[in-house]
């Protein structure tokens, strides 16, 4: 994401443009250095920009796929951490499980934002997005699974009956040893 921003660059203070597009040599005070031909530059304007745009969109698509695959590493790391945390409820395992649940959820909420830099009419973002969502859902599932193994999900009968009050008895009886 940082790289993408660098390319788009909006808040920069100064810049040197190496790809000088001015084709009229008359406007130049300084003659071209010997051996330098402007032929390569003196191409059609549209071709140059198309080429550039192609490169950029290629690069964007590539980046988008990279970003989409990023949660996979996360997933692996999470899995490792969960395995390390064990199956008992304590501060470490609870922390890990909740971060494992939170990360995918927050990532899913920001799907649009994550892929915004690569938004382009030519770049097909559906694939990376789907991959990204799928991976994050996987992460979420992993977190839920962990929650279950910790026994924090109400999936057993015991979770539903543990607060059931005792049944009322219709009959009432009292008495005992005479006073």
């Amino acid at each position: 994401m940082e790289k993408g921003k660098g390319v788009m660059g909006s808040g920069r203070r100064w810049a040197v443009d190496f790809s000088d597009n001015s084709t009229a040599p008359s406007s130049r005070d300084i003659p071209d250095p010997p051996g330098f031909t402007r032929a390569s530059v003196d191409q059609d304007d549209s071709t140059v920009s198309r080429q550039k745009k192609d490169a950029e969109s290629n690069w964007k698509a590539q980046k988008a796929w990279e970003v989409a695959q990023a949660p996979f590493k996360n997933l692996l790391m999470m899995g490792f951490m969960m395995w390390m945390a064990g199956n008992t409820v304590h501060l470490f395992s609870i922390g890990i499980t909740f971060s494992a649940l939170w990360q995918p959820i927050s990532a899913l909420q920001g799907v649009g934002k994550v892929f915004e830099p690569y938004k382009d009419s030519k770049v097909e973002l559906l694939g990376p997005k789907l991959l990204f969502i799928a991976l994050n859902l996987g992460g979420l599932a992993l977190g839920v699974w962990k929650l279950n193994t910790l026994g924090l999900l109400p999936t057993h009968a015991s979770d539903w009956v543990s607060s059931l009050p005792p049944a009322q008895e219709v009959e009432y009886s009292g008495g005992g040893i005479p006073l």
Partner: protein, 988 residues
């Protein structure tokens, strides 16, 4: 409160991590007395002996009906030392020997002990045996010496003993073997070596024995027959004259046995008093020359002049009590006379030979709630002007003890609280605007100062004075003794019924008496000769809509000791102690059944069963009748007939078919009976669940998320029977002939749900029933140890309810009402453990919602209360619990229950003569209030799973506040710093 609710989740969270540790409940030294209080009593004084020698502290030695010998400070009434003898070691007499030993005769005259007067250490003990049972008399003559040794004369078990005062050795003894001889008095005329033993034989013969005090030699034996017989009391008139009544109680006899000659002088009472009717009784006293008789509420004082001539000196119809004579100077004896007159008592000290002159005459205002004066003890002191001053110790009808001196009550002791019959708890009034009962609000500065001190304590900056100030502040916290309801429900009233028929309300905060009331209905009257208080029930517990009414309690009493005697009901306001109403019933009260229904004013319906098995409904209102009629067919009752070994179940039938139409009276019919074979089983204990116990859940979650359904029924009865042979003392039978059988019986249907036999076990059995389990304590003869067993009952018919979706959607019938006539399928789990102590009482903690785990409260033989986690009595304990079971909290099985010294609820204190333990839930779920009573009273708060729902009492709010302020300041400062830094960065 906001702070607390903020902290609750945090604490719960913290608790999660600590739950794997075994909680050890104990308190720090400086926490003693913060939430608990302990009061020491002695009981109703039977006999008092003064010890007012010039050296040493002035004290009075008393023996009481609770079997206590105590030495009290005469200045303040505090206890110097105290000994509680066993209940089978009743004190017959006390006296002081040689000015430094307290001599006590107890156990029907068979144990004579000597205690050191200053510190109460026992000096010696002698066992006195004799041929037959008889009255026991103790006499410590002041100047009777045998070989420089002071002698104690004891008549007990038909034998006269002379015992050395120094080492308790029996110097001589003399048997009185005459078959029917009944000793009345042992007289030692001062200055002589003679002992007279007088008594009756064959009810019409007067016998006199003259004995040489030096060697026990019988000098003379005379007997004389009086044809119309004697009434069994004599009053000593002089060292050689006694006064008695004939068997009809209408003729006075003065019997003189001067020089061994017995002579009777008869005087009909009608000659002395004109309007005497009915038999008279002699008031026992020992005033020389004077005795008193009582006929119909009239007390007559009679002086003996010369040879059998009698003269009435005073007739009074006021209630009167007379003390024994006190020698004050050579040949002069004084005695005290206390008479009631309205709200005052008149105290007169007179010389024995001069009735009309008074040494002292005082009127003292007396609290009406103390009743009549029962006993008077007199003592004198020499004033600075060498005249005699008198102090008088009086025992009142409510068993309180008061010292009167110079026309005022110097101190008083509420010793009625030593004999509590029943206890119940009541809420305090709700705090309303303008109803400030006690001014307790500190001003802000005080509050802040207190918290600053606490903060200093927390930060270890406090000086020793500060620490002392903190401690006294904690102990005297006015918050806990306020007279209004508190948020946590710690403040309550304990309503206590004592044997004297007095009700006390004790504040749980500091144990002070809020009000006390001597029940009018428990007064002796024409209709009710000897009323006995039996029990107490919560009659009206207003909440919700009836908050304007005060709660009230119902006191059940009975006229006379037999179960057929008519009952008396009194209704007492729990806030003020006023007797709202009292009903003298025509029927007896054999059983009281509080029903689970209340009327619109929150009065609980009670069913009283009389001796003819009729049920009477109270309150007698049409509304109550309407409610009762609706539930008529669902009400049952059962009776346990201990002597016959039968448990019977009854149902209500129809209106009474008596001559008087009473629509609140119902006939009953027998439904079922469980008959125990009398040759092999004898009922020794029955226990039911407390009717006000709250159970949170019916399910028990066990390892691997499995569920077991508890069998929770209000109508279960635990019955323990033993072999008739084994019902005596422990060790009186061999293990082969003794067994203990335990039953769980459904009291509606009579169905026996469980039965288990412990071979080689013996009573006494103490048991406690709660939720779905019962714990009982007995003796194992084979192992020679006490054992405790637990039985848990589970409902197997509900075990199939395991479908999660059904449970989620509520499609189950687990909470629908059930009938006990449907056949239950129960399984039981049980386990037994050794237990070191023998037990006086067992109770279980009870909390508001029943969520907190339970603790057993065991009153040990050492008069302490031990808290034992119920987890130790879990039948699912095994030697090697699995990992899952360990996580569940199951403790590995051991053969005996651990006694952790820190878990004594009473910490270093003892509740002498412990009889009962009451637990009352506080409003705060984690906490329960415990009240243990015996001769002493003890109260404390317990949190079986720690106080997980509130901050501890010593939490420093000042520290919290300070931290928050510091944090806010830090945030502000760092924010400003970061602002500045950013600005500088921008300028760069």
């Amino acid at each position: 409160m906001a702070i607390r609710s903020f902290f609750v989740p945090f604490l719960l969270f913290a608790l999660c991590f600590n739950s794997s540790l075994t909680p050890v409940l104990s308190l720090y030294e400086d926490q003693v007395g913060l939430m608990d209080w302990h009061q020491q009593y002695i009981g109703k004084v039977k006999q008092a002996v003064f010890s007012t020698q010039k050296t040493g502290r002035r004290r009075v030695i008393v023996s009481t009906e609770e079997n206590v010998i105590a030495s009290l400070d005469l200045r303040h009434g505090e206890i110097f030392w105290r000994h509680l003898l066993g209940s089978n070691d009743v004190i017959d007499g006390i006296d002081i020997g040689l000015g430094k030993y307290v001599i006590t005769l107890s156990s029907g005259g068979s144990i004579l002990r000597s205690w050191n007067l200053p510190d109460g250490q026992m000096v010696w003990e002698s066992f006195l045996q004799g041929p037959k049972h008889s009255k026991s008399l103790l006499l410590v003559p002041t100047n009777l010496k045998i070989e420089k040794d002071n002698v104690i004369v004891v008549f007990s078990n038909g034998r006269l003993h002379a015992v050395s005062c120094i080492d308790g050795e029996v110097l001589w003894n003399k048997d009185f073997e005459a078959e029917s001889f009944e000793v009345q008095q042992v007289i030692q005329p001062p200055g002589s070596d003679l002992i007279y033993v007088v008594g009756f034989a064959a009810s019409s013969q007067f016998e006199m024995y003259q004995i040489n005090a030096r060697n026990g030699e019988l000098l003379k034996h005379e007997s004389e027959t009086f044809s119309s017989g004697f009434f069994r009391e004599v009053s000593l008139v002089s060292s050689e004259t006694v006064a008695a009544l004939d068997s009809t109680g209408s003729i006075l006899l003065t019997i003189s046995f001067q020089n061994g000659e017995i002579s009777f002088q008869q005087t009909p009472i009608s000659n002395l008093v004109e309007d005497s009717s009915g038999p008279a009784v002699i008031i026992p006293s020992s005033v020389p020359g004077i005795f008193a008789i009582k006929t119909n509420a009239i007390t007559i004082f009679i002086r003996v002049i010369g040879k059998g001539k009698l003269e009435v000196v005073e007739t009074t119809n006021h209630e009167t009590a007379v003390s024994n004579a006190l020698p004050i100077s050579e040949g002069q004896q004084a005695f005290a006379l206390v008479q009631h007159a309205g709200s005052e008592i008149h105290l007169a000290v007179k010389l024995a030979h001069d009735w009309d002159g008074n040494l002292l005459k005082e009127s003292i205002k007396m609290d009406q709630q103390r009743g009549l004066v029962h006993k008077v003890f007199i003592n004198n002191y020499i004033r600075t002007d060498r005249s005699h001053g008198f102090r008088v110790l009086i025992v009142m009808e409510d068993h309180s003890l008061l010292l009167l001196q110079q026309g005022a009550v110097v101190w008083s002791r509420e010793d009625g609280l030593a004999s509590i019959i029943d206890v119940t708890a009541s809420e305090l009034p709700v705090e309303r605007d303008g109803v400030s009962v006690a001014k307790v609000e500190h001003n802000l500065f005080e509050w802040l100062k207190g918290h600053m001190l606490k903060l200093k304590g927390t930060l270890m900056l406090a000086s020793p004075e500060d620490v002392a100030a903190i401690q006294s502040m904690r102990l005297k916290s006015s918050e806990k003794s306020k007279m209004t309801r508190d948020h946590n429900g710690f403040r309550k009233l304990l309503i206590v019924l004592t044997r004297a028929g007095k009700l006390f309300a004790l504040h749980t905060g500091d144990g002070r008496i809020v009000w006390s009331h001597l029940l009018r209905s428990l007064h002796k009257s024409e209709a009710c000769k000897s009323p006995i208080g039996l029990n107490m029930y919560q009659w009206q517990v207003p909440h919700h809509h009836a908050l304007d009414e005060n709660p009230s309690v119902l006191v059940i009493s009975r006229c006379g000791p037999s179960s057929g005697a008519p009952g008396v009901l009194s209704f007492v306001d729990a806030y003020t102690g006023k007797e709202l109403n009292s009903l003298s019933l025509v029927h007896a009260v054999v059983q009281v059944i509080p029903l689970p229904y209340t009327d619109s004013t929150e009065q609980r319906l009670h069913l009283l069963i009389d001796s003819d098995k009729h049920a009477h409904l109270y309150p007698k209102s049409s509304e109550a009748l309407g409610i009762f009629k609706r539930e008529f067919s669902n009400i049952y009752w059962y009776s346990v007939e201990e002597l016959d070994g039968i448990i019977k179940g009854h149902a209500l039938k129809c209106k009474c078919t008596g001559e008087v139409a009473d629509e609140f009276c119902f006939d009953t019919r027998d439904l079922w009976s469980v008959v125990f074979p009398s040759e092999s089983e004898k009922i020794i204990a029955t226990v039911t669940r407390k009717s006000n116990e709250v159970v949170h859940t019916q399910a028990k979650v066990i390892a691997d998320q499995d569920v077991m359904y508890k069998y929770i029924s209000r109508n279960l009865l635990f019955v323990a029977t033993v072999a008739p042979k084994g019902s005596g003392e422990i060790g009186s039978v061999t293990p082969e002939e003794s067994w203990l059988v335990v039953y769980l019986i459904d009291t509606v249907t009579g169905r026996i749900l469980h039965r288990v036999t412990h071979h080689g076990a013996q009573g006494p059995v103490h048991a406690v029933f709660s939720e779905n389990w019962v714990v009982y304590h007995y003796f194992n003869l084979r192992a020679h140890r006490y054992e405790m067993s637990v039985i848990e009952i589970y409902d197997q018919s509900r075990a199939d309810n395991k479908d999660v979706w059904k449970l989620v959607l509520g499609k189950h019938n687990l909470t629908s009402p059930i009938s006990l006539f449907s056949r239950p399928e129960v399984i039981t789990k049980s386990q037994s453990y050794f237990f070191t102590h023998s037990v006086k009482a067992i109770a279980v903690t009870s909390t508001a919602k029943g969520i907190t785990s339970k603790q057993l409260l065991i009153g040990t033989i050492g008069d302490q209360v031990l808290a034992l986690d119920k987890r130790f009595l879990d039948p699912r304990r095994s030697v090697n619990p699995t990992q899952a079971e360990k996580e569940e909290g199951i403790i590995p099985l051991t053969d005996s229950l651990p006694i952790i010294p820190q878990s004594y609820v009473t910490h270093a204190l003892r509740v002498e003569g412990l009889r009962g333990i009451l637990t009352v839930p506080a409003k705060l779920e984690s906490t329960t209030l415990v009240f243990a009573h015996g001769v002493d009273l003890f109260f404390t708060q317990l949190a079986p799973s720690r106080t997980y729902d509130s901050l501890t009492e010593d939490f420093s709010y000042a520290l919290l506040l300070l931290t928050i302020v510091a944090l806010v300041a830090a945030i502000f400062v760092t924010w400003r710093l970061s602002e500045r830094k950013e600005l500088q960065d921008k300028w760069r």
